[in-house]
């Protein structure tokens, strides 16, 4: 956990001061029973009022000193734990920003979110409690024993026996019940899963009239969870009464031993009271310590998970500064014998792909699910590095672009719609930070979504909820297209970005993009033949291989895979209809 401790370094002083003051407080607490003993044995025995007042004054001073050191300790603990975790959270966030797609795939964004939120919170709680109590509780337990020894060795032996027995009971029950709690958590997750399933599948459940069965399944798991809860509860229910009994039985023994010692003149009555008080103090701290250990264990587990994310090193390096002097020529994108394998996937996702796209061309990419279409286009903005071959953009190997320069040339529309909470303007400014309203309007018009935005009361300032869920699927998809267009990219990549659009809108969109063209090279990934039919060049992928390259007519005439795809969407008898429509 080296990397995490590095964050504590900035708060080293606070992190040392907090437990130190806490120890001071414990020390003051431990003195109190001794003072009480003095009051009884000296003050009361001699009926010395001045002495009693003095001793009580000492007690008040001890209380004030205890409060002061405790507040000081809490302050430093809060400052260092919150500060350290704040830095750690920022550090982790920034670290994730350096990840490439490979690392993101490997860890998964859901996991990263948990690390940044609840795991961090747990670490903060654990750290805070550890700084406050980890030293205090054992010291009070041990301190009570040591204080007992200073009073009387024979009586102190009762402590020596009681402490290990108590520890055994407390930690024994913890050892048994903690793994069982994990079992409960699993059952609870299962119940949660069933509940969610019932809600998402409510139509199907009702369509098949399976309501009663769904209830029966739930009831079985619900009962299961209850039984587990009760089973674990049986152990934790025993903790309090057991420790209580042990401490009190130890106290009985202590008083008996004390009685013998007093009878022999070894100690006085007040010292027996002091011993009795130490015993009471000890048990409170021991229980606290047990709870603390549970908490700390949990936060250590969280800290380890956070650490493991920190340990992931981004697997891509960028040239620091490279003048882009080479004359680009008329090539926009070139793949030269490119092979690529996903980190977790066994078989290569792309095998030996070579093609060239000229500036201003429209390239269609078609193929079945898993044929490597999305993978191919994600190599263009260098989301991944191929393991073999080279990818060049505008005449330059993508690896030679300094960090952050390549993606300014590319407008990318991902397959999964991702929008962000904020105004439409905010979202479009992702494409170009300083884009003006005119530029945005033009992009919206091309993306066939301007009328939708215009209809909104606030226009460009219309506020999108999380992931734009206050818009329809098709509207959201078109906004992501507009976002990519705002930056007037030299290369536009649409990764199956028209799937939620009806045919008419899809066609109008392609028409609009085509008319913008200038020098923009457009990549269209699609399952629909209709979407790529008009491309200058169509790449046909099948299981990671480029099995066809050419125009629609060429491929339809000679390429078997393309024919298969085409006729699955336009059955042969429709073919004439399609052609008629095309000619018209």
């Amino acid at each position: 956990m080296k990397k995490l401790f590095a964050y504590l370094k900035d708060y080293r002083r606070d992190a040392i001061l907090a437990p130190t003051f806490k120890l001071l407080e414990a020390f003051f607490d431990l003195l109190v029973p001794l003072v009480v003993a003095r009051i009884i044995d000296v003050g009361i025995a001699q009926n010395n009022h001045t002495y009693i007042v003095h001793m009580v004054t000492v007690m008040v001073i001890l209380a004030v000193a205890g409060l002061t050191s405790s507040i000081t300790a809490q302050f430093f603990a809060a400052r260092s734990s919150v500060g350290c975790v704040t830095d750690m959270r920022q550090g982790l966030f920034d670290h994730i920003q350096k990840f490439t797609y490979s690392e993101l795939d490997q860890v998964g964004t859901d996991t990263l979110i948990t690390r940044l939120t609840s795991d961090m919170q747990q670490v903060q709680n654990g750290l805070n409690m550890a700084l406050r109590l980890l030293l205090r509780s054992p010291i009070v337990v041990l301190g009570s024993m040591i204080m007992a020894f200073t009073i009387d060795v024979k009586c102190a032996l009762v402590f020596v026996v009681a402490i290990p027995i108590l520890s055994l009971v407390v930690f024994g029950i913890m050892r048994i019940s903690i793994p069982m709690f994990r079992g409960v958590q699993k059952k609870l997750d299962r119940l949660l899963g069933i509940t969610r399933e019932n809600l998402t599948g409510v139509r199907v459940v009702r369509a098949f009239g399976q309501e009663q069965d769904a209830v029966k399944t739930f009831d079985a798991d619900n009962g299961d969870l209850t039984r587990w809860n009760e089973k674990v509860g049986r152990w934790s229910a025993a903790l309090n009464p057991l420790t209580y009994a042990i401490v009190n039985i130890a106290t009985i023994v202590l008083i008996q031993v004390g009685a013998v010692r007093v009878n022999l003149g070894g100690i006085q009555q007040g010292q027996v009271v002091a011993l009795y008080n130490y015993m009471a103090q000890m048990i409170i701290e021991l229980i606290k310590l047990a709870q603390l250990i549970v908490l700390i264990n949990r936060s250590i587990a969280c800290a380890e998970r956070i650490q493991s994310v920190f340990e992931i090193e981004p697997g891509m390096s960028f040239p620091v500064d490279k003048a882009n002097t080479k004359e680009a020529g008329d090539l926009a994108v070139a793949f030269d014998q490119v092979t690529f394998t996903y980190q977790n996937g066994g078989a290569p996702a792309l095998k030996d792909i070579s093609f060239q796209a000229k500036k201003g061309e429209t390239i269609g990419i078609i193929g079945g699910t898993g044929s490597g279409k999305s993978t191919l286009v994600s190599l263009i903005p260098r989301f991944y590095d191929p393991e073999g071959g080279t990818v060049s953009v505008l005449g330059e190997n993508v690896r030679d672009y300094p960090e952050g320069t390549l993606n300014t040339k590319i407008g990318y529309v991902p397959q999964r719609v991702t929008l962000f909470e904020g105004s439409i303007r905010d979202n479009l400014s992702w494409g170009k930070a300083d884009a003006g309203s005119d530029e945005m309007d033009r992009a919206l018009a091309t993306a066939q979504v301007k009328d939708v935005v215009d209809q909104k009361p606030d226009g460009l300032d219309f506020y999108l909820q999380q992931n734009g869920r206050n818009l329809s699927g098709g509207q959201r998809q078109r906004l992501t297209i507009a976002r990519a267009l705002v930056r007037k990219p030299e290369i536009l990549i649409m990764d199956d970005s028209a799937s939620a659009l009806d045919f008419a809108t899809d066609a109008a969109l392609r028409q609009a993009i085509h008319s913008l063209h200038r020098d923009m090279t457009v990549f269209i990934v699609s399952q629909r033949t209709a979407s790529v039919m008009s491309a200058d060049q169509i790449l046909v992928l099948d299981e990671g291989r480029l099995v066809g390259k050419g125009t629609h007519e060429e491929l339809l005439a000679h390429n078997q895979v393309y024919q298969e795809i085409y006729y699955s969407q336009f059955p042969k008898d429709d073919h004439t209809a399609a052609n008629t429509a095309q000619e018209a």
Binding site: I44, T408, F570
Partner: protein
């Protein structure tokens, strides 16, 4: 406790009605709590007497000490046993109530109208059923018993203290409000701070979910630096608030401990002055000191219980609001027998929102075996028709009749049995392949299952699965297409006379799509089918085409008549082939 408003009272009453099933347990819990508290408080007195037996060198009453020691031992064992039983009973009680509420809630899910379920995010309902119910049991049930033992503890402590020494007791009681006020003051200060923290945390989590969840887009647009800056802003705000909140809330313990310490010192002072007068023994003083030390604990407990109690009531209200939501209209007794598939829709009106008219005056006559294609742009409201046919929603006016039987006069399950539904959203339950195929007919034999698996082209991939039909389906194991094939098999097994199909096959590769098409064709043979159509051939071969736009049915007819009409359908149809060349 704070004055509760009407709603809280109603919530509490309802929760208590769940507890009422376990009256015996509740009584047992209260009795054992009282026993345990009284004994736990009585024991220090006994210890005090033991200590009083130790007077000084040569003056120790061993017989007395041994005698009381035995009594303490017995008291300790009884107190321990009572506490243990109380803990067990409380566990049983709270877990049972939790189980009962959840079991009520799952029944409610089956019984709620879809309009409720559609308008409440499922995550919200799940969190009510799981998290809120847990909070309810922690806060409300344990709160109740803690409150009870706290009150008993205070009363008994004061009683015992009074029995030992009156003036000291009065002093301690007089000091009570001070300690209480200190705790309340800190709690109220830190409460607002914690609210700031949770607000900020909410914003921070939302930002994290967005930016990290959309990290690939962040990278694609080079938004990393801007993202980090936005995060840093919230993060610093978070630091400021949490630091305050953590610090202030951590003051509660030291402050009450301090007040306690002062009380303790003064008890020692007054006690020490009193002992020589003979009205208080040293053992009595030791007992008083122990009480003074413990005295504040129940007050702190109660004050934290009150906060938690309010929180738990809020959670309970959320759960009960769900459980008490009005269920769908009760089903008529009458049952729709297996139908031939003749459908008559007569002057149907429907809208989700009275201000936004959708289906208006829609009529349709279809003989058994008719194929009806539903066509229209995305988001045109094709699911509305499905909702009405399946009675997921009821029409505002007008009727739907199947085999001349008004569907609103028969029970929903009997109506739905006559429909098979394959939607784009391929929902499968967590379970084995067998359970999923036999979903509508749980007692189907293996032969039947394999027959439909073969007919729906599932058999090949089922054979390839590690345990065949007994393989538990895990999300992600199956492709979208395979899931859809299983959904088709599921319907085939039931073999209903009418079908509702969604042809949308995005994200499915061509070969699987061909299989699905073949399976669909087999399924539809001789049946009345409503097809949300995407394929040209389906649309052209349909007997009736319903053209939808903006939630309304704008045209109705067959391919030829609609093309001739040259309306919206014709425009849609031609757009498919409007190429950008």
């Amino acid at each position: 406790m704070k004055k509760m408003n009407m709603n809280s009272k109603k919530t509490l009453k309802e929760v208590l009605s769940y507890v009422a099933h376990y009256k015996g347990l509740l009584v047992l819990s209260l009795v054992t709590a009282a026993v345990s508290v009284v004994l736990q408080l009585y024991i220090p007195i006994l210890f005090g007497r033991m200590i009083d037996g130790i007077i000084g060198k040569g003056h120790v009453k061993f017989a007395l000490i041994a005698h009381i020691g035995v009594r303490v031992g017995i008291a300790v064992i009884i107190a321990g046993a009572a506490t243990w039983i109380m803990n067990l009973v409380n566990n049983k009680l709270s877990y049972s109530v939790v189980r009962d509420i959840r079991s009520q809630a799952i029944r409610q899910i089956q019984d709620l109208p879809l309009s409720y379920l559609d308008s409440h995010p499922s995550g919200d309902i799940v969190s009510r059923m799981i998290t809120d119910v847990d909070q309810l049991s922690d806060g409300l049930l344990l709160g109740l018993t803690q409150l009870f033992s706290g009150l008993v503890m205070i009363a008994v402590t004061i009683g015992f203290m009074l029995s030992i020494n009156m003036p000291i007791t009065l002093f301690v009681v007089a000091m009570t409000p001070v300690s209480f006020l200190v705790a309340r003051f800190i709690a109220s200060r830190s409460f607002t701070m914690f609210r700031n923290v949770s607000d900020t945390r909410g914003r921070q989590t939302a930002l994290i979910e967005e930016l990290i969840g959309g990290e690939k887009v962040v990278k694609a647009f080079g938004y990393e630096k801007r993202g980090s800056a936005r995060f840093a802003e919230v993060n610093q705000e978070m630091q400021q608030y949490s630091q305050q909140a953590v610090f202030y809330s951590s003051l509660t313990n030291p402050s009450t401990r301090f007040v306690n310490g002062i009380i303790y010192a003064f008890v020692a002072l007054i006690g020490a002055f009193t002992v020589p007068s003979g009205s208080l023994t040293v053992g009595g003083l030791a007992a008083l000191l122990t009480y003074a030390n413990q005295y504040m604990k129940p007050f702190n407990d109660i004050s934290s219980v009150v906060t938690e109690f309010q929180n738990a009531l809020a959670c309970a209200a959320r759960v009960l609001e769900f459980i008490d939501a009005p269920p769908q209209t009760p089903d008529p007794e009458k049952i729709l027998p297996k139908a031939s598939g003749k459908i008559d829709i007569d002057h149907l009106y429907f809208s989700y929102d009275p201000n936004k008219k959708l289906i208006q005056d829609f009529s349709l006559q279809a003989k058994a075996g008719t194929r009806i294609a539903i066509v229209g742009p995305t988001g045109c409201g094709k699911t509305t028709l499905i909702n009405l046919l399946m009675r997921f929603y009821d029409a505002d006016s007008g009727t739907i009749a199947i085999d001349d039987q008004n569907v609103y006069a028969v029970s929903r399950p009997s109506l739905r049995q006559n429909f098979g539904m394959v939607l784009q959203d391929t929902w499968l339950k967590h379970g084995t392949v067998r359970e999923n195929i036999a979903f509508g007919k749980p007692d189907a034999s293996d032969d039947e299952i394999w027959r439909v698996a073969a007919a729906s082209h599932c058999d090949t991939f089922i054979h390839q699965m590690p345990k065949g039909l007994d393989t538990v389906i895990d999300d992600g194991d199956l492709s979208q297409g395979q899931k859809q094939l299983l959904c088709i098999a599921r319907v085939m097994l039931v073999d209903p006379p009418m079908l509702i199909l969604d042809e949308a096959t995005s994200n499915i590769d061509t070969r699987t799509e061909l299989k699905i098409q073949a399976a669909f064709d087999k399924l539809m043979a001789g049946k009345t089918s409503f097809i949300v159509a995407h394929r040209l051939s389906t649309i052209r071969d349909a007997d009736i085409i319903l053209v939808m736009r903006d939630g309304q049915i704008v045209e109705q007819g067959n391919h030829r008549s609609l093309l001739a009409k040259n309306g919206f359908y014709a425009k849609l149809y031609n757009a498919q082939f409007e190429l950008t060349k």
